[in-house]
């Protein structure tokens, strides 16, 4: 069974540009979570989607947005990139039932570098 897949794995952008990151959850999982992990730091909650709806978002500016598609895959969009957006963006999926009610399965992440 395939795990959570993310693309691209690495990318380099310049300040002011826009980026789209993609995530495919484990088959049968309806919840997708996005986290930002700056180098050597912890995981900061970005967004939670379940059944196609945004259920919650973390303390990030509106230029961070996303969506979940009918097949439960998800995109994270970041507009007007800033240097401090450089980080590993992790996507995780779970079988739903509410945040934190089941284990999260993480993808390998997308490493974004903003120059």
């Amino acid at each position: 069974e395939a795990g959570v897949t993310q693309s691209p794995t690495h990318l380099i952008k310049t300040r002011g540009q826009q980026v789209t990151l993609r995530c495919s959850p484990i088959s049968g999982h309806t919840s997708v979570y996005w986290y930002q992990q700056a180098l050597g730091l912890g995981l900061q909650f970005l967004l939670w989607y379940d059944e196609g709806e945004e259920r919650n978002r973390g303390n990030f500016p509106p230029r961070f947005s996303g969506r979940q598609f009918p097949n439960y895959s998800s995109e994270l969009n970041v507009n007007a990139l800033e240097l401090e957006d450089s980080a590993l963006y992790l996507c995780a999926s779970s079988s739903g039932g509410g945040a934190g009610t089941g284990e999260l399965f993480f993808g390998e992440g997308s490493r974004l570098t903003v120059l």
């Binding site: 909650f45 919650n56 945040a99 009610t101 399965f105």
Partner: protein, 108 residues
């Protein structure tokens, strides 16, 4: 918003020594999850605790949820080099938030 603090931030141990990381919250937690992230890797789920005072063991790892459900601990007995990584606790309110993490280094 709710914060979950972990101590220590870093721990260096000699192989064979024990290790403990603590997770503390100012508010009552509904549950606690523990994850391990190897260097260069992604977090991997270890366990979930739900009940007050709950203790669970996985081989050399012992997980405990406090009686007041405001703290939790992960104890590793006789560490091995394969235990190297960052250990995170996580808990849900209306989102799954992660603790600050404890980075474990094991010297052979």
């Amino acid at each position: 918003g709710q914060q979950v603090m972990q101590i220590p931030q870093y721990q260096h141990v000699q192989e064979g020594e024990d290790f403990t990381t603590y997770c503390n919250s100012s508010t009552t937690l509904s549950n606690i999850q523990w994850y391990k992230q190897r260097p260069g890797g992604h977090p991997v789920f270890l366990i979930q605790l739900v009940k007050s005072g709950e203790v669970k063991k996985q081989k050399r790892l012992t997980f405990q949820f406090g009686e007041a459900k405001k703290n939790s601990s992960l104890h590793i007995t006789a560490t091995q080099t394969t235990d190297v990584g960052t250990y995170f606790c996580a808990t849900n309110t209306d989102k799954l938030i992660f603790g600050t993490g404890t980075r474990l280094q094991v010297f052979p």
